[in-house]
Structure formats: structure tokens, C-alpha cells
Symmetry: C2
């Protein structure tokens, strides 16, 4: 729980009493590799903070094909945040790709934080802003960069991804097929 407390302290001004009260409402939980943390069609009532490990977020399209839209790493928050906010049934699957230690923030804790922490709303603002920036980058890359360029730059955002995630999941994240990624690596295409 200490790692989680340190992250909070980096984001907002918060004393030990507030930290105690808040973290008491959170739950440490460890997942095994390939465990599913969150499924589609269920209203998500949890935000996860990752102490160690890696979580993949996927969406399934109308044809049943699975698309990796995100990898979440150490010291990051992850959730089906849209559906969490809107209290609507989830659209994503969250799955651990390694043994993953998390801190779970139940909805009750989050709402308690907004109401009772001196800088609770600021914390919520910073988390939302952080992911906004990340997503903005995503969208810009999808529009203005080729798959090859996205591949070449993926380690900017996910430093050791090549050692931790199979290539076909990286291809999915890039928005291409594994076969095509294999081709791009050979360098025949621009």
C-alpha cells in the first residue's frame, strides 16, 4: 500500500491522517497472469492502481475480433473509466499479462474521496487530465502516423514492452495484424 500512498502524495497535498482514512477504504489484491479483472456488460465499480505487473485493455468488435486498446503499467491507474464515470455496463476487458499486484479503489472509496479529501476533486481532475493527455496522444498518432511510425515509437510510452508482451498483442495495439507487423519489421514497407 506504501507505493500507492507515495503516488497519491506526488499528485496532491495529503497528510497521513487523510491517507490512512482513504487507503483503509481501498483493497490490496494480487492477480495471476491472464486473470480477468473486469468484463464487458457489467457496470465497473472499481479503479485499479498497479503496484507491479501489466494489464491489457481490450475491446471486441461486431465480428468477435479482439482489439488491444491499451497497456497499463506500474504506478498507473486503470479502469473502464468511461463506464465507471457514467455507471454504465462495461465495454472493455481488463486482463493481467503478468502476476500483477494492485490496489483496488472501490467506487465507495472514490466518492468518499471526492467528498471528504481536501483535494479530492483535484486528485480526480489530475487523473482525468493525465488520461486525457495520454488519449490525445493516441488519437493524434492514429491519425497522423503510419503503423510503422507507431511501431518505432511505441517504447516511448511503453519502455520495455517488447520483453513483456507478445508481438501479436503489440500489433493489435498498433491497429494492424500480426502478419503485417512482421512485414513492417522486415523493412520492406515505408
Amino acid at each position: 500500500m506504501q507505493q500507492f500512498r507515495d503516488s497519491l502524495k506526488q499528485m496532491i497535498q495529503i497528510g497521513n491522517d487523510e491517507l490512512d482514512a482513504f487507503t483503509t477504504r481501498c483493497i490490496a489484491k494480487t492477480f495471476n497472469r491472464y486473470d480477468v479483472l473486469s468484463r464487458p456488460n457489467v457496470v465497473p465499480n472499481e479503479i485499479f492502481f498497479i503496484n507491479s505487473g501489466i494489464i491489457r485493455v481490450t475491446v471486441t468488435d461486431n465480428d468477435g475480433a479482439e482489439h488491444t486498446v491499451h497497456f497499463a503499467l506500474e504506478n498507473q491507474f486503470i479502469a473502464d473509466y468511461s463506464c465507471f464515470i457514467m455507471k454504465q455496463p462495461s465495454v472493455y476487458t481488463l486482463q493481467s499479462l503478468e502476476n500483477t499486484e494492485t490496489v483496488i479503489l472501490p467506487r465507495s472509496a472514490v466518492e468518499w474521496g471526492y467528498k471528504n479529501l481536501l483535494q479530492g476533486d483535484k486528485l480526480g481532475r489530475l487523473i482525468a487530465e493525465f488520461y486525457f493527455i495520454y488519449q490525445d496522444n493516441r488519437i493524434r498518432n492514429l491519425y497522423a502516423r503510419t503503423p510503422k511510425e507507431r511501431y518505432d515509437n511505441i517504447t516511448e510510452v511503453f519502455p520495455d514492452i517488447h520483453n513483456r508482451v507478445p508481438q501479436h498483442m503489440i500489433a493489435s495495439y498498433l491497429g494492424i495484424t500480426p502478419v503485417h507487423l512482421s512485414r513492417l519489421k522486415k523493412g520492406n514497407t515505408k
Copy 2:
């Protein structure tokens, strides 16, 4: 300014005194069609609220090609919000497509609001969350829907877009060429 005040009142609890103090720090400004509101490579220090009109957000890639990443409509906030938050040089161009009435929120007003409005951080949180949800949707569609599906559903997010925006800009937003959109409309492709 009344429209802007009403929008604020819908988002947070705010009295007339606070509203007066805040809106005094904002500036009403009208732009002509095709005016540029914000350019790349300049640190953006403003958020725009749209009373009427429509603003297009574009990014230019390495080859000099322009991509439309967003249309902002009435009663929405729009900015190069990532760069605004990070105080970094802008990457987007904001351009009005109609005569557009805006309220400008200078950085000074935003920061004043966070510090002095009772629910300032909550307002910031809600705005960031709102755009997070919008972007999340964008990304999911880019991954899990075909261009044709994105075209068929575009009026969900932009109701009267077909009457207000030329088709080649819609194509750009969909991530395809105008020629290809023309093809899709004919219905030969899935």
C-alpha cells in the same frame, strides 16, 4: 455570456457572485468563418467555450497532410487541452467553420477558478472527464469499427454535421480520403 453561465450552473453548484467574479475574467469574442483561433507551435493559453458556430481541430503530419481530429459544437469547451495543461507548444490548429461566438477562458481565469471557486477543481474534473469519455469513444471506434460504420454513426455525435461541414472534412475525420468516402456512400463496399 448568459449561455456560458448556464452551462457552468449545470455542471457545478455556483452562485451568482462566484459566476460574476469568474465571468469577469473571461472574454466574449466572435470569429469569422475560417478564422484561425489557435496555431501550432505556440503555447496555448486559452480555452474556448462555443456559444454558436463550429470549430474544427486539425493536425498536420510529417508529409504536410492535414487531418481533422475533431469538430466542436455549441455549448462545448474546446482547446488544445493537452498542451494547455502541460504548457507546451500547441500541436493542433483550431479553425472556425462558421461565424462563431465564443467565450474565451484565459489561463489566468482557469487557474483563478481552481483556486477560488468552491467547486473549481470539480469543474475541472468534470470537463476533463467529459472529454475523456468522448475520446475513449473515439479510440474504441477507430479500433473496432470500419470507416463505413463510423460514417453511418457520425450523426450520433454530430447531429447536423452533413449540413454544416463539407464532405471532405468528414472524410478526414473518419480517417479516410474523400474519394473513398464517396465510394462508401455508394454502398459497394462493406
